[in-house]
């Protein structure tokens, strides 16, 4: 799974942005390498991100690890 995420652009140094979020443990979708990728909450939880202070809504996120 980590490899697949890496291929899709959830890798160190890249910027991802949450574009869709389902309430109550549903999937959420992220813009990574200009494509929209949906992940389950449990999978998204293992990605470490640092929020971008600029804070354009919804906030941009940096992956640090």
């Amino acid at each position: 799974m980590a490899r697949r995420l890496d291929q899709l652009g959830f890798s160190p140094g890249e910027t991802v942005r949450c574009v869709l979020k389902k309430p109550r443990g549903g999937m959420s979708a992220y813009l990574a390498r200009s494509a929209v990728i949906a992940l389950r909450e449990s999978d998204a939880a293992v990605i470490f991100v640092r929020t971008d202070g600029a804070g354009t809504p919804p906030p941009a996120r940096h992956i640090v690890s």
């Binding site: 697949r4 389902k22 549903g26 390498r33 949906a38």
Partner: protein, 609 residues
Amino acid sequence: MESKTAVIALMGNPNVGKSTLFNALTGLRQHTGNWPGKTVALARGRFSCGGRDYLLADLPGIYSLDARSEEEEVASQFLRSGLADMILVVCDACCLERGLHLLKQVLELEWVRDTGVPLILCVNLWDEACRRGIRVDLELLQDVLQIPVVACSARSRRTLEGVKQAISESAGTVGSYQCLDFSPHRLAEETVHMETEHFRRLEERLDRIVTGPFTGSLLMVALLLGVFWLTMAGANIPAQFLWDLLFSLEDGLAQGLALLGAPPVLVQLLVYGVYRVLAWVVAVMLPPMAIFFPLFTLLEDSGYLPRAAFNMDRCFMRCRACGKQCLTMAMGLGCNAAGVTGCRIIDSPRERLVAILTNALVPCNGRFPVLTAMISLFFLSGVSGGFRSFLAALFLTAFLLLGVAATLCSSWLLSRTLLKGLPSSFTLELPCYRRPQVGKVLIRSLLDRTVFVLGRAAASAIPAGVLIWTAANLHLGGQSLLAWLTGALDPLGRLMGLDGVILAAFLLGFPANEIVLPIILMAYLQTGTLVEMSDLSSLYQLLTAHGWTWQTALSMMLFCLFHWPCATTCLTIKKETGSLRWTAAAIALPTLLGFLLCTAVHFVCRLLF
């Protein structure tokens, strides 16, 4: 190389339009759809340009050459096998960076470096990128990569010439990739220019509505209802017209055959046995299919399906299944065999098995007409006008939702009994919305799906007609063979609210679900009941004359929805799972469910009415 056909491998990320390009180049009709994983197997086709013949291999879309999933395995094995004389890497102009990552991996393959096989980068979906204000600097790209780079929009034939030219120019050349190195991220940054900052603004708004907690479900049901309503409302008039036309030919055909010197028995068999049923199949099945499939293909083309999977994922997660199962179910709606093959997009073997075993619980296009016919014959009497087709659509939607519910319940059950396990992780790509190619969709789905299903129905209706006719006229111990068979099945059928003939028809309909209703009609007609086949309602008279009530019709619909998959699907399941045990399970699961449901409904009806 000069004499033999050059092999070109067509590869790229999922959903960048490889199959569309493949179709445009070869003139073949691979199914395409706007969601990742539509192509799971390898397809090949021939075309020629510049006086040379080429064999084009359409590889499944991949993100990398790691060979983690089945598609990646297929694609990377093909590349490593060294069969390709040229590689055409297709990428999406809107997501160039991902394509470049894959291109880099291809360039790093030892085999590619050693042989210097010619590579072409094809930037597809150019028109769409332009519309969104995305500009790609192709010259810079070509300068850095040192391979031919062409822009194209596979959907419009105009831009194909560039691709063909690049192919004929680089055929037979040897590239040198030894000292080629680039960073996909930086290269994409330098070559892609966005004219507007918020090129996804409209899409994001649309997505909020399509996947909203309330609006999402509402839209899903409304879309289903709308599609079914159009199908039911639009099918009536052509059905009546076809019926009149085909049955007005019946007498002429009988006379013509008699004039040709055919013996009366043969005329009877051919005209009143086979032709009549064929006419019925065409008149009743063709119109709804010809309306439903283009509509459904439009939905598929627009990019809605992955969003539906996104919405439905929570249900599938609860059932410990993969959210992509929603996509394979949608494929099953067209054909269960295709749905089973489509299950390859699910990476986890356990979840893939769950999806395969439950795929037959979604009604395929062979079973749809049975449902529509039963609804319009038995459940809408006394209702007329526009409300009638709306009510019919409501019924159909309810039945489809029942199929979905059954799929979820059986997935839940399987995940806790036979296929124990926790849900695994997966990624689901939500592609851009694309305007469907209306004209193309109409023609393709009419020609491919409708004619295919109808052809299959007709092809199996003829031997089935002969078989039924023979069985009804061969006597054994004072009773016809048909009577023996249906008599033996009758007690079981009665238990389920059906009768022996219906069960026999389902058994004989194993090669193709489309012929179940025709077999029932043939069997009834052979029992000597004379029914004036003047219009569509005469079917109703024929069925009621054999003891059908609305309860029989209900049980029939339930059993039609839940019974063993057709022969083609069973073979596909055997091929995909590689095990007879799982194939047997895939047969037993829906059959058992149908048997239990029908029996329960029958008993409840007996208690209440």
